[in-house]
């Protein structure tokens, strides 16, 4: 027998939990204290993570490959049990009330997860049934979600015929069938072209505007910048920074000017000296690279060309330059440079580590 129809919304109290109404009194969407996860081979993937994501926020979890992002999100989505620590999602405990969590979250895995043999509409319908969307609402919900992710035209085409971006959009739609108050998105746009990425961002913005809390992991600062109210940066299983996107970028100290210099190391070193002594930049950070120098400073956009002129006047040949906003790499550089002075370890750059066991 198919699930019976009912207009009555699932009452969370049937799980034995009274949830007070009213936005302010409700528990945080995600509340993590001292989360630790050690894999069977002894790899510590997550080491003492503390997180609190209030309802309605779009929260970004940043880090390089293997930092512990996917492991953390899998713990939150009840796919992995924490080794230790307290993890509550939508007010439910992740170990003892996992089914209640599954009813109240949407989860989109890093690998696109759809049934290629079913059509777009059938994939969404299966998700509707799996999440117990009342039968009378399913048709409407399927249409609504197909519209949202702009797959209405190909509703009856098999998913195996879709492009990567279309599959990802379909995957996103299936995570939203039960209108969950909280959605986990694990690197939702990795591997997509910029156009497909922008489209997905647009959908995420829409559902966030409706009040859905979003918890996403990403490697792209731009993605976090576009979508997130708040970010945390995870490195080697620990949160090393958190704050708004602009907070984090401020830690980098401005925009970045990459300059390619003709000649040998001596020429680059001379260029670095000129840049360091360049008066128009206040507290510029200058690094030598393999091909030239990199200058990070607040006013690099205004005075970058002046520096190029100064370099030419110094007898150096500039063969290329590029002014850009700080990337995640720059944020990591800034953050890890900071930790290097704290604990004395050599942390010039984040050392990526295989994502231990979390596929």
């Amino acid at each position: 027998m198919p699930p019976r129809d009912t207009d009555e919304p699932a009452d969370r109290s049937r799980d034995g939990h009274h949830r007070p109404g009213g936005q302010t009194a409700s528990p945080a969407a995600v509340d993590v204290e001292g989360l630790e996860l050690v894999y069977g081979d002894g790899t510590t993937a997550v080491d003492g993570v503390e997180l609190r994501v209030p309802n309605g926020e779009c929260f970004g979890f940043l880090g390089p490959n293997g930092a512990g992002k996917t492991t953390t999100i899998k713990v939150l989505a009840t796919l992995l049990s924490p080794t230790s620590g307290s993890v509550r999602v939508n007010g439910f405990d992740v170990t003892t009330e996992s089914r209640a969590i599954r009813e109240t979250i949407g989860y989109m895995a890093q690998e696109t997860s759809i049934d290629p043999e079913l059509t777009a509409a059938e994939n969404i319908r299966f998700a509707c049934e799996a999440y117990g969307v009342p039968r009378g609402e399913r048709d409407e919900r399927v249409d609504e979600l197909l519209d949202l992710v702009e797959l209405g035209d190909v509703a009856d085409k098999r998913a195996e015929e879709f492009s990567g971006g279309m599959k990802k959009r379909l995957d996103a739609a299936t995570a939203l069938v039960h209108r969950p108050p909280l959605v986990f998105l694990d690197e939702p746009t990795t591997g997509l072209d910029p156009k497909a990425r922008n489209r997905l961002w647009e959908y995420f913005r829409q559902i966030n505007d409706r009040g859905t809390t979003i918890f996403l992991t990403t490697q792209y600062l731009e993605e976090a910048d576009q979508l997130c109210d708040r970010l945390a940066v995870i490195l080697d299983g620990r949160i090393v920074a958190d704050g708004s996107p602009s907070d984090l970028k401020r830690r980098v100290g401005g925009d970045v000017l990459d300059i390619d210099i003709e000649g040998d190391a001596a020429a680059r070193s001379r260029a670095a000296t000129i840049a360091r002594e360049f008066a128009a930049f206040d507290a510029a950070m200058v690094d030598e690279t393999d091909t030239g120098i990199t200058v990070t400073a607040e006013s690099v956009r205004q005075h970058g060309t002046d520096l190029l002129v100064a370099l030419r006047d110094g007898g150096l040949t500039v063969v290329g330059f590029n002014i850009r906003a700080p990337t995640l790499d720059d944020v990591f550089l800034a953050i890890t440079d900071g930790t290097a002075t704290d604990d004395g370890t050599d942390a010039d750059r984040p050392v990526p580590r295989p994502e231990g066991g979390s596929q």
Binding site: Y39, G56, L80, A130
Partner: protein, 294 residues
């Protein structure tokens, strides 16, 4: 878009619209999905149905005359078609059971396995629904083989009751191999390995049994292997039903007199095998779906 969607403020603590899915409801959802996939994926149907049909037609046409006399020495008065159809029914069950594990591997590979794990569906119901879809398909395929066999000249002596009995024996036979192929799927997590592993077993299992010729016509070593081969038990039970006589060749009982003496021992062995391999598969599947850190 309905109004409550735009009701941003209340949406934060909006109760999730969800019917309380019953166990049977979850079974049904998965049963439907796997049936739909079976219809969509001709590979599954072709592999598990066309190959046995080719066997049925070719064996009866090519070996019919020769094999018929060997068969008649043991069981007088039956043609090779009648002798072979129960074996082909078992072959169908075997071939279809292989696809069960392949389906699971595909689910693991395309992420649907994990996707289902994050839904609130009952996990036992998920696997029961999938297996039910496969058993349903096997039943339909055996019915097709029986019908085709009759067209080719086979005779179901016990009539409709016997035909239903053969379908039941086929299902009981398929379950241990369903469990086996799913275990293989969880252990290898690789489509090719699962297909090869399960397929490699298919032909030795069929040929080293009473499926195509009476054991009395086969070499001694094959008789020894056949005694340990589940196919022999399934085929002999199905064949006893087909011709209405006790033709169980490996266990001699005379508890009931007549046909049931051939059916019951075979069924008992198959049920025991189903339970044993089923337990292994359940253990492996629950380990694979558990959230325990590995």
């Amino acid at each position: 878009m309905s109004t409550d969607v735009d009701d941003g403020g209340a949406a934060v603590d909006r109760p999730v619209q969800r019917t309380a899915n019953s166990f049977l409801g979850d079974v049904w959802v998965n049963f439907k999905r796997w049936n739909l996939k079976a219809v969509r994926n001709p590979f599954v149907l072709v592999v598990s149905l066309v190959q046995p049909i080719i066997f049925l037609v070719l064996f009866t046409e090519v070996f019919g005359t020769v094999a018929g006399s060997a068969v008649n020495r043991g069981i007088p008065g039956i043609n090779y078609e009648t002798y072979l159809v129960p074996a082909i029914a078992i072959q169908v069950a075997l071939a279809a059971a292989i696809t069960s594990g392949v389906g699971l591997v595909n689910d693991i590979e395309n992420g649907m396995f994990e996707k289902v794990l994050v839904t609130p569906m009952n996990r036992t119901a998920v696997f029961v629904g999938k297996t039910a879809a496969e058993v349903f398909r096997i039943a339909v395929q055996i019915a097709i083989i029986l019908g085709l066999g009759v067209v080719l000249g086979a005779e179901v002596v016990t009539g409709v009751v016997g035909a239903v009995g053969i379908v039941v024996v086929g299902i009981l036979f398929s379950l241990w191999f369903v469990a086996f192929s799913n275990s293989l799927a969880v252990l290898t997590r690789d489509q090719e390995s699962t297909i090869i592993g399960a397929n490699l077993l298919q032909f030795p299992l069929l040929f080293l049994s009473s499926a195509f010729l009476p054991l009395s016509a086969l070499p001694e070593w094959i008789r020894t292997v056949a005694r340990l081969n589940p196919v022999t038990y399934g085929v002999d039970a199905a064949r006893s039903l087909m011709i209405g006589q006790d033709v169980m060749t490996v266990i001699e009982v005379s508890w009931f007199g007549g046909t049931l003496d051939g059916v019951v021992p075979g069924v008992a062995v198959l049920v025991g095998l189903d339970l044993a391999l089923g337990a292994v598969a359940v253990y492996l599947l629950s380990r694979a779906s558990s959230s325990d850190v590995k």
